[in-house]
């Protein structure tokens, strides 16, 4: 029995360490301009993926055999402040429970499939190694996020995922559009990350550490999703919840951040498939599941989750219908489901109890099923013309637009208005620029001006900020 436990601990560490080692090997090789051959690079990546699948499946089996539901490995503390008034600690901790094990298996399986796919697909590309390096960072980040036991570790993984995603959007760096869109993805991610970071700090204040088991009231008897949060400062908990919700919304492209998702379709097909179709876009929902016991705390919290999820699902469902290119159509279709998954998480929190937990399980299986389905659809996206031809032949007629009942029953002008809303993707980007980016820039430029004025007053003669002398620059910035 003890041996089994030891084995599962070793495996748990393996799942995290091997992807990190891959990052190290590929990264160091690139750093020293030692080009590994395409074969070596892809084989190493496939090997790590396969190791991960085996290890995480064995962990699952062991958990089933031993009946353990919560397998956590603590790798020690980085920082402990023993001063009781500060009482801060930062622990490396991996959790394997009923939430992270299925998700980890999903990550490894999809990464393995995509690595195999990319091996042929990117053959002879100049960016082959760059792709695989970014891919390995992504994989390591995903797995870290999935099994993180503390908010800090989750944040580290989250950042790795964000960075690699943005760089992969900009994979075709010799054209302007991928770079611009990569930057846009990066900006939204940074904003979400800022919210996340604030949440992490507040969490420390709240519970003295970033450990999820403390936060979500998980003990050895009560594991996810049965944890019960015992927080006295409900107000702070709600604030933490909201911040995490913003973080999740940014990462999962929920309203109003949805604009970046179709723009992310700039990279090669496999990266579009795995990042925006399958894995990273579910990360926000996964985060909400991870902290789901917190959502129960207040109706304000779960209410917001449900509202955001529903709004996203409805927005994306309408928008998906008018998209004329396959990648955008699929990305909005994916967003529809993510909206629903978030709604389910909120509903689970709203209902609570046994049924609420069942709904969370449902949300988890929704994530897994959706990720598989969408990955398949994304990597088959270039087959669209062939598929349409075959469908036409099978049904024996041309495939024409299928009128949608509710839109065709709308009065004309309203139909047109709704169509335009959908075609211009809800004007969400404009909205963000207008009501968020521009005021934000204005505010900070104002601060800048005041600071300069002060500095001028104190020492005299500080050169003007470049923003004032170059209005064109200002303009282009406010648009990115």
């Amino acid at each position: 029995m003890l041996d089994l436990e030891f084995l599962s601990q070793v495996l748990a560490v393996t799942t995290v360490v091997t992807p990190l080692m891959l990052v190290g090997v590929l990264g160091i090789a690139s750093l020293f301009s030692r080009r590994l051959s395409e074969r070596v690079t892809s084989r190493l990546t496939q090997f790590v993926g396969a190791t991960g699948i085996v290890a995480s499946v064995v962990i699952l089996v062991l958990m089933l055999i031993t009946g353990s539901r919560h397998n956590h490995v603590t790798l020690g503390n980085w920082v402990i402040l023993n001063d009781p008034s500060l009482h801060f600690h930062f622990t490396f901790k991996i959790i394997f429970d009923r939430l992270s094990v299925p998700f980890a298996i999903l990550i490894f399986v999809l990464c393995e499939v995509i690595a195999t796919f990319a091996r042929h697909y990117l053959h002879r590309e100049t960016g082959f190694h760059r792709f695989f390096l970014l891919f390995s960072i992504f994989q390591a980040g995903m797995i870290l996020t999935a099994v993180a036991g503390t908010v800090e570790m989750l944040f580290a993984g989250w950042e790795m995922v964000g960075l690699s995603s943005a760089l992969l959007v900009a994979y075709f760096q010799n054209r302007a559009a991928p770079v611009r869109n990569g930057l846009r993805v990066w900006i939204v991610y940074r904003f979400a990350d800022a919210a996340f970071l604030l949440a992490a700090i507040m969490l420390h204040h709240l519970s003295g550490g970033g450990d999820f088991d403390v936060l979500t009231g998980v003990t050895n008897l009560q594991t996810w999703p049965e944890g019960v949060v015992e927080i006295t400062e409900t107000g702070t908990a709600i604030l933490v919840g909201y911040l995490l919700l913003i973080a999740a919304a940014g990462k999962s492209a929920l309203v109003p951040f949805s604009g970046w998702l179709p723009r992310a379709m700039e990279g090669p097909t496999p990266s579009s498939a795995i990042f925006y179709g399958a894995l990273s876009v579910h990360l926000g929902a996964y985060l909400l599941l991870r902290v789901s016991p917190v959502l129960v705390v207040s109706p304000w919290l779960w209410g917001a989750v449900i509202a955001l999820g529903l709004a996203t699902a409805m927005f994306a469902a309408i928008t998906a219908r008018v998209q004329t290119d396959i990648k955008s159509a699929l990305s909005f279709a994916a967003l529809t489901q993510i909206g629903l998954i978030v709604t389910e998480i909120g509903l689970g929190a709203a209902i609570g109890g046994r049924i609420g937990q069942l709904i969370w399980y449902f949300a988890l299986s929704h994530i897994i099923g959706h990720a598989c389905l969408r990955t398949l659809q994304f990597i088959r996206a270039p087959s669209l013309l062939k598929d349409y031809g075959q469908l036409e032949n099978a049904t024996g007629s041309r495939l024409l637009h299928r009128p949608i009942l509710f839109t065709s029953s709308l009065p004309g002008p309203l139909q047109v208005r709704l169509y335009r809303f959908a075609l211009e993707r809800g004007h969400l980007d404009t909205l963000l620029t207008r009501f968020f980016v521009t005021p934000f820039l204005k505010l900070f430029r104002g601060c800048d001006r005041i600071e300069r004025a002060w500095a001028n007053l104190l020492q005299g003669g500080v050169p003007d900020s470049p923003h004032h002398s170059e209005p064109s620059h200002q303009q282009s910035e406010s648009r990115t």
Binding site: H120, P270, D325, S365, C372, T375, L423, E424, R434
Partner: protein
């Protein structure tokens, strides 16, 4: 915001616009010619990318391409120099081409330093380093260019230059009272301080101790400074380019904001929605109104949430609606507002269309090629598109200019903003000129002193000469040398091979007729090698059966004939008698499965049903996901079995004969009349020369290709079937030729087909190298037996063919056996992740029109289109050759030129990298999330291509060819304007004539050696790169039996 009401612009409109509606329309029509003419991607027809300029000589057209599209005309100089290093171009070729071009002018002295020939040769053969301003500065500061001479400089030249400079410098240290008043240098340099500065004021004794390297550095620095001074002082300033700048271009330069991008973010989704052939589930409301009107309808909605720059667009648009302003009126109205003078209108509108040329071109295609498009666009769509684009541009310009604070006032004044027009391509700056002189001086041994003393007149001549031999001209020269190299190799091989008498096999076991396609060259060669008693023939792969074809399992009719032919006949495939009931069942099953998969397809994208699907069926998607990627071949086999259950029963027949006099698409009208059928058979047989000596089996093999995840799949199909699969044509042909009544009609025309001869149609999948034969069950017993024994041979040939293809795939090992090669190509055709299922027409270079005997057993490396034609059976005026060339020339030239342009500029003329392609509107591909519609070929398709103009080798005499060129303008245009190269092979000797500068000149072979190999495999094994020509013994009947080899490997 600027007031867009009519009152403001009213009088200016009537005053300054001199164009009437008709003028404007004709201007637009004219501009349209410059747009890409590629139709929907699902029927990809290869055509000359620069078709708009086909009336111009090739190189002039390339220059126009640079000016109009800003695309590269040739491979880069760097690529050419690689080819020079690899021996794909020899120095001798450059010299030859150059001396032919220059003639006597080659010996003209340039500035008394060198000859024009020598200068140009040096500039072309050695890489010139020509950075932009900053790059050059960096090179001077950070690299060795001022420290060491170029590596190509010989030791003697280097020594001579350094010595003379040293002498020069040391001499100047001792001042003398000169009696001769020296003319000031044309470089404007004052010598004494100049040398002082260069030596950093080193003392005499210090300079004595200088090493060789220090002197080399001194020499180069002096040389560089002299060159810079000389070039700056003596270069004639060029007049600025007159190219019109659109207000968008100006604002982009002045304000740094890309107005086109803003406009495109609205315009592209709207255009895509308008053109959509069924990808989206909700069709654009108001599409029936037309492009412009539909746009007004949408834009007239209150746009509270709209893009800032189009915030007040609805006000403007409502005014247009209220006043009933048409699209043309709007263009009229906007032109003066944008500050476009009437004489600039054409240039401006052309540029406006070209700035989004993929979409504009597709609009034009859907508008004018309505019969080939499921959902055509109404007339006037392009005009509407132009009007909308200008409208959006006006709003975006106004907004951006104001926001950026660069301009306030009337929109027309944007054009007065200070912006420097784009420099003409290939124009050198003064520093670049200096850099060329600097490099030439090293390579040709001009010392700094010489250049210092060079008179002004000579400096000017030198610089003018350098500028006239621009990057374009250098690459043109290299291109000619590149083409010369391959052409001479090919013509030498043809000459040497034509000398050898060909022994015909007796009796002929079978005759195989394939498409002229270059991919069938290797198949034919391998068939001849494994079965030397088989003859092969080539004809355009639609076998003259131009038809709309509908298979049993097809929903729609496909035109199966070249793109420029409009079929008049319809042919349907029907289930054979006795199989109807099982077909009904299968048809129902197909329909159910089809509907189901369509629902799955759509509903996975919807909300609630999507959720149910994703949660409950989603995990099962991992099964095909994993199996298709990890085990593509096995998965394909499993799904093949599943499909077989519902597949059309193999017992089908073609309805080929009609009862009514007129052909049509009504039940009685399907098919051809017997006379028409006899005409088709006769035409193909006469064209190819197969009019007697029929074997007992004649196989016709059409072709096509199947690959996965490939939006360009149809580009891999038969070019003579306009991007469709040519199997049904071969089948129809065989069925017609087997009909005794038709044979009787043919006999009346003098073609007697013996009763024992059977025609069998087949379909070759060029991607997985399988051949499927039709109507084999109808063969009678003795033929049947010989057919199956022949089929075994064909399978063997296919395996060798697959092996020959595999040598070009970098991911396939060179050590494959034929069986492994077959497996390899089958996986490629089923693999979702394969970006290179096959290389299609890449490397095509020759089109041979003549008797196969004269090329049989010549290894052509899959680079030649082979059309069979027998000059001895032709009429005295070569009427057969005329129609053969009329069919073959556009196909071969179109393919060759499309490959040429996509290869020299994959991102400009081609559609770029295929990895980020995104299928849009079921019409084409965009790059990434949103872009212009991309036309042409992807870089993966052309990466191994060698961009040379196709060499036609026609077996005929100069007189007959001249008369053919007189009779067909299209052929004449292609040949006279040098879009293709042409050589003639004398029907009775091995003499070749080359078409050069409008005349046929006898070709003198460079070499009469032709390597000999036992078999193709012996020749090509172990090598990926280009293979030379060789004579292959295996296909010679009786001289070589390759049984030993085939046993060994199989």
């Amino acid at each position: 915001m600027v007031d867009f009401s009519r009152s403001e612009g009213g009088d200016s409109q009537s005053g300054s616009t001199s164009h009437g509606d008709g003028d404007l329309l004709s201007i637009i029509q004219h501009a349209v010619h410059l747009l890409p003419s590629q139709g929907p991607i699902s029927v990809f027809v290869h055509h000359n990318t620069l078709h708009a300029f086909q009336h111009l000589p090739f190189f002039t057209a390339l220059r126009r391409g640079v000016e109009v599209y800003g695309c590269e005309p040739f491979l880069s100089e760097e690529a050419f120099h690689h080819k020079l290093a690899d021996g794909r171009i020899r120095l001798e070729d450059i010299e030859q081409v150059l001396s032919e071009e220059l003639g006597a002018h080659g010996e003209d002295k340039i500035a008394g330093l060198t000859t024009r020939f020598k200068l140009r040769l040096t500039m072309a053969k050695d890489p010139l380093y020509l950075g932009s301003g900053e790059e050059l500065e960096w090179q001077i500061a950070e690299t060795q260019i001022l420290k060491k001479m170029r590596s190509e400089v010989s030791g003697a030249t280097r020594k001579g230059m350094v010595e003379s400079t040293r002498h020069w410098a040391l001499r100047q240290r001792i001042p003398v009272e000169t009696t001769i008043s020296e003319e000031p240098s044309a470089t404007g340099i004052d010598l004494a301080p100049f040398l002082q500065e260069l030596s950093f004021g080193a003392s005499e004794s210090a300079m004595d101790r200088w090493t060789e390297h220090r002197w080399e550095e001194f020499c180069l620095t002096a040389l560089w400074k002299v060159c810079v001074a000389g070039a700056k002082r003596n270069r004639r300033e060029r007049t600025e380019s007159a190219r019109l700048m659109r207000p968008c271009d100006i604002l982009k330069q002045v304000a740094g904001e890309d107005v086109d991008r803003l406009v495109n973010e609205l315009l592209i989704p709207f255009t895509a929605a308008f053109l959509d052939q069924g990808l989206s589930q909700w069709s654009l409301p108001g599409r029936d109104l037309g492009f412009y009107e539909a746009f007004l309808l949408h834009a007239s909605q209150t746009g509270f949430l709209a893009e800032r720059w189009f915030h007040d667009g609805n006000v403007h648009v409502r005014r247009l609606q209220a006043e009933n302003v048409s699209a043309l009126d709007l263009i009229h109205e906007l032109l003066p507002k944008l500050g476009i003078a009437p004489e600039e209108t054409e240039e401006f509108l052309t540029q406006t269309l070209l700035s989004l040329r993929g979409w504009a071109g597709m609009i034009w295609q859907t508008e004018t090629q309505a019969s080939r498009i499921a959902r055509p666009s109404p007339q006037g769509t392009l005009v509407g598109f132009l009007a909308v684009k200008l409208l959006l541009e006006c709003h975006a310009l106004t907004y951006v200019a104001k926001e950026a604070g660069v301009w306030t006032g009337s929109l027309a004044d944007i054009r007065k903003l200070p912006a420097s027009p784009q420099p003409l391509p290939y124009e050198l700056t003064a520093m670049q000129c200096a850099s060329v002189v600097f490099q030439m001086a090293q390579l040709l041994g001009w010392s700094p002193e010489t250049l210092y003393h060079l008179p002004r007149r000579d400096w000017r001549a030198l610089l003018a000469e350098i500028e006239s031999f621009s990057n374009f001209e250098r690459r043109r020269l290299l291109q000619l040398a590149y083409e010369r190299r391959y052409r001479n190799q090919a013509l030498d091989a043809f000459t040497a091979h034509a000398r050898k008498p060909h022994v015909a096999a007796t009796p002929v076991r079978a005759q195989v007729i394939t498409c002229i396609d270059d991919r069938e060259e290797s198949l034919r060669r391998h068939i001849e090698e494994v079965a030397p008693d088989v003859e092969t023939w080539g004809a355009p792969g639609f076998f003259s059966v131009a038809m709309y074809y509908k298979g049993v399992a097809d929903a729609l009719e496909t035109p199966l004939c070249p793109g420029n032919v409009r079929p008049r006949h319809w042919v349907h495939e029907e289930v054979a008698n006795g199989f109807e009931s099982s077909d009904q069942l299968r048809r129902k099953a197909r329909k159910v499965v089809g509907k189901l998969s369509r629902h799955l397809h759509l509903e996975s994208r919807s909300m609630t049903r999507g959720a149910i699907l994703a949660t409950f069926l989603g995990p099962f998607a991992s099964v095909p996901l994993i199996s298709r990627i990890l085990f593509p071949l096995q998965t394909a086999r499993v799904s093949e079995v599943a499909r077989k259950l519902m597949e059309v029963p193999s017992a089908t027949q073609l309805r080929l004969e009609r009862a009514t006099p007129e052909p049509g698409n009504e039940p009685g009208q399907i098919g051809f009349s017997p006379q028409e059928m006899a005409g088709i058979i006769e035409k193909v047989l006469r064209d190819t020369g197969l009019t007697s000596n029929f074997a007992s089996l004649v196989l016709l093999i059409g072709h096509g290709s199947s690959s996965q995840n490939n939006p360009h799949e149809s580009a891999y199909n038969c070019g003579a079937c306009a991007g469709s699969r040519g199997g049904p044509n071969a089948r129809a042909f065989a069925q017609m030729a087997n009909d005794p009544r038709i044979r009787k009609l043919l006999a009346d025309q003098g073609i007697v087909i013996p009763e024992s001869t059977w025609f069998v149609g087949g379909y070759h999948n060029t991607c997985n190298d399988e051949i499927e034969f039709f109507d084999v069950d109808k063969l009678s017993e003795p033929v049947r037996k010989s057919f199956f024994s022949l089929k075994e041979k064909l399978d063997e040939a296919l395996a060798w063919n697959a092996l020959e293809r595999c040598r070009k795939f970098e991911s396939a090992p060179l050590t494959l056996t034929p069986e492994e090669a077959i497996r390899q190509v089958k996986i490629r055709s089923e693999d979702l992740s394969q970006a290179r299922p096959e290389f299609n027409h890449a490397t095509n270079a020759i089109c041979y029109v003549g008797r196969r005997e004269r090329t049989r057993s010549l290894f052509l490396d899959r680079r030649a289109f082979l059309q069979s034609y027998d000059p001895e059976q032709d009429t005295p005026d070569a009427s057969i050759l005329l129609r053969v060339l009329q069919a073959a020339t556009p196909v071969a030239a179109g393919i060759s030129l499309e490959y040429y342009f996509s290869c020299v500029d994959p991102a400009g003329y081609g559609c770029g990298n295929k990895l980020p392609h995104n299928v849009v509107s079921l019409l084409g591909v965009m790059e990434g999330a949103q872009s212009d519609l991309r036309t042409g070929l992807s870089s993966q398709m052309v990466e191994i291509h060698e961009p040379i103009r196709i060499l036609f080798v026609v077996e005929t005499t100069p007189e007959l060819m001249t008369s053919i060129m007189d009779r067909d303008t299209n052929i004449r245009e292609l040949i006279q304007n040098e879009w293709v190269q042409l050589a003639l092979l004398d029907p009775n000797s091995s003499q070749l004539h080359l078409y050069q500068a409008g005349a046929f000149v006898p070709y003198r072979p460079e070499s009469s050696q032709l390597p000999v190999a036992g078999s193709s495999y012996e020749w090509f094994r172990g090598w990926r790169g280009d293979m030379g020509f060789a004579s292959v013994l295996a296909s010679e009947p009786k001289t070589f039996r390759k049984t030993s080899r085939s046993k060994e490997v199989f």
